[in-house]
Symmetry: C2
Subunit: 461 residues, 2 copies
């Protein structure tokens, strides 16, 4: 007997109120629901009702069975359901370079390893396989949306759409020629083609992604600014990653990069300023009044010794701060659970205040703040009625996660990516008991090993 | 047909050299072996031969089948075999308090949560269950030895011995009465009884564990110093955890705690100085010339905003630096993989040098340096012939761990505790395909949840 009918019959016998039952697709019943809304830190023994791709209700467990008849019923007696995590800055395809070069200074790492490897190996097949590996890793670690910047954004968008992953795909722009484009006009034209292709897509949106102030000159930035206004696109950019970047710019242009971007009219609510480890006392209120977003990448900033983004001061000033892993080449993973924990620990030690940046605050950075930065907070980033069902189930019934006192701080300080069991994106289950539903892990690992074998040989030579 | 005989027959047919074959217990064949000795960063396609509780050979894979006939043959075609990790500072039983109080300043955390909870809940049953939970977590995350400090060390030692875990159990001493003892004589007497009980034990050793300079006065410290010399016991102590500790001591005694310990004769190779976030320029050479050991606990120091141990300077000065998680109440896990990664990242950002404290250095801190600090480097801490077979298999064939370029940095920056599949302690397999062999996980989780229910109620009241 199909579940939906059985459920209905059972309900008829118990309550005699068939007329009030609503047929829906999925009902998830969990010990804890952490909605990341403005009402409750967490709910106990609640259900999330999903129909088609949206959350249509969140209600106490004992009321759900009387109100809904679901095709799929899943029970999570020791799990927390949380909004899908949003990785607000990465270069997905670079997963194929992870671990290629560690314990090196930024310039040695870039000039002697990453740039030569990119020049030699990055092509459509590389971006396809690298992005698929990154998405596999992200879904398995509870991430349901990523904000990307890399060559061949058309491939990145296609892989994400095919797999059923939510993404904001960056339309990269850089002053020098690469395998993707030869000059700024070509970067922009090819980017706009990707934009056109995915206009109105449920999962994929696009954003301009000028690489950094030191690699993109004024003219293309002005062009992007005009186009971004016109097309209502966000702008995703590395800014103030290191003190060296700022001092070089001052030497060359007489002003700090953020001042230059302000003068170019780029400081708007559309701007996603990635890294921002260097901020003087005027720049924090400037970002706040502009409504620009800061994307904090603590592990990459630590590993490359870039600097520390003053998250606590930014949050206090009202700046929206989201969280990203950066690429796997400087991290070396895309694990937002680890990133949340590091963000909290780094904030505490860098301010010498153990209360700075709480578990609740980093969870917001990894969910709703990310959605806000990407301009998708109306449709995702929290578990609320009417939003897409981007949901992650985290198992707290393991040797690593008992006992549980506060499920919110537990999520950040105790549980890890391996406790993610199930993931839904827009109502579709993409991970079931830790197995990916739309990616063949074994075939993917073979593809990765085949490509990396060539990279290994050329890096050593 | 038993494996040993079949192996022998097969070997006879193939080579006709039965006389040269040696019967042994276990042969592990791995893609990578990372010995943490002074000869090689890693070996490819090698075998580790184990007989009884010791490593008797490490040799190329193609030679092993001709030399040894093993009762148990295990093949790890995509794994790295590494020495069991050594958690050089923890309070195992406190696992039952993990997540009880987060995002709080040290004194609020201690005075309003941890100390009241300890006064009310710590007893023999608590220490038994909490220690078992901690050991379960440690084995599952590749730790084969821990250095403990807590009440009821007799229980801690018994649980570790029963489960087959290696430990150095701290004989705690503190100036005020607790549920374990009423005065320093009683602490010492009860401690010595534990020492007597485990003298000569293969897995368990004991060490004096005076809590901290600010909680133990001069007389008991002198007494311990004499006894430690006489009995050849180490001394495990929190020292210079915070700037507040140092400034208070200067105010009260006119000298810094480390100076006071030096004057009391405690700075010797027997001393394990835990935390050491405060070190002036004279103190690093003082520790180096004394041959004392420093135990670095980066995650606890970050979470409680205690300070940063200058690991790089200590290593440069020749001080032996080991790694610990501290308790799960201030971390909130006992994950040495995470701790290695954090130690490397924190060293880089705090010195603004991406080459500071390499993957190789933190791996040494988590293995051989820990063994040295605990005085057991002759018998464990690396994969070398003649040492106990304390071995961990880490799976690199996962979505999170492909591709592999350098297995050593991969271990630290990319793989995590969940990639640990198998663990041997003194030649006995204690984890098989992630399942514990000497602990019933399901029963243990029930025990933990029963105890934590009471703690939760009293913490809220």
């Amino acid at each position: 007997m199909p579940d939906k009918i059985r459920q209905k019959l059972h309900s008829t016998c118990a309550t005699g109120m068939v007329a009030t039952m609503k047929n829906i697709d999925t009902l998830l019943h969990a010990r804890w629901v952490i909605p990341v809304d403005n009402k409750s830190r967490y709910l106990e023994d609640h259900c999330i009702a999903i129909d088609e791709d949206k959350i249509i209700d969140i209600l106490p467990g004992n009321q759900a069975a009387e109100k809904y008849s679901a095709s799929v019923n899943r029970s999570y007696p020791q799990h927390a359901l949380i909004p899908g995590l949003i990785n607000s800055h990465t270069h997905a395809a670079m997963n194929l370079f992870r671990g290629l070069a560690d314990d090196l200074s930024l310039m040695d790492w870039l000039e002697n390893h990453i740039w030569p490897a990119e020049a030699q190996h990055v092509n459509e097949a590389f971006v396809h396989t690298g992005t698929e590996l990154a998405i596999a890793e992200m879904i398995r670690s509870g991430t349901t949306c990523f904000n990307d910047m890399y060559f061949f954004p058309d491939i990145t968008a296609r892989v994400a759409a095919d797999v059923g992953m939510r993404a904001s795909v960056g339309l990269i722009l850089i002053d020098f020629p690469t395998v993707w484009a030869n000059n700024s006009d070509e970067y922009i034209d090819k980017g706009l083609a990707v934009f056109d292709n995915y206009k109105g897509h449920d999962l994929i949106k696009t954003a301009f992604a000028p690489h950094a102030p030191y690699t993109v000159s004024d003219e293309p930035l002005k062009h992007i600014r005009t186009l971004a206004d016109e097309l209502e696109l966000n702008i995703h950019m590395h800014i103030h990653e290191t003190a060296f970047e700022v001092s070089e710019a001052k030497k060359n242009n007489g002003i700090r990069p953020l001042t230059r971007l302000y003068e170019l009219g780029l400081l708007t609510p559309a701007l996603q300023a990635v890294h921002m480890t260097q901020l003087d006392e005027d720049e924090i209120p400037l970002l706040a009044s502009a409504g620009s977003h800061v994307i904090h990448c603590p592990e990459s900033n630590m590993k490359l010794a870039s600097g520390i983004c003053p998250v606590n001061q930014l949050l206090d000033a009202g700046v929206n701060v989201a969280l990203g892993t950066d690429s796997s080449s400087s991290n070396n993973d895309l694990d937002m659970f680890g990133e949340m924990r590091t963000a909290a620990l780094l904030a505490k030690i860098s301010t010498m205040d153990a209360t700075a940046v709480s578990a609740e605050q980093v969870l917001r950075m990894a969910t709703i703040n990310g959605a806000r930065a990407l301009g998708i907070d109306e449709i995702t980033g929290s578990l609320e009625i009417g939003k897409f069902a981007d949901i992650v189930a985290v198992n707290f019934d393991t040797i690593e996660t008992v006992p549980v006192y506060d499920p919110v701080s537990h999520l950040v300080y105790c549980s890890s990516r391996e406790h993610v069991t199930d993931v839904w994106i827009a109502g579709k289950q993409r991970l079931t008991d830790r197995v990916l539903n739309t990616i063949d892990e074994s075939r993917l690992k073979q593809d990765c090993n085949r490509i990396s074998e060539n990279i290994r040989i050329s890096d050593r030579s």
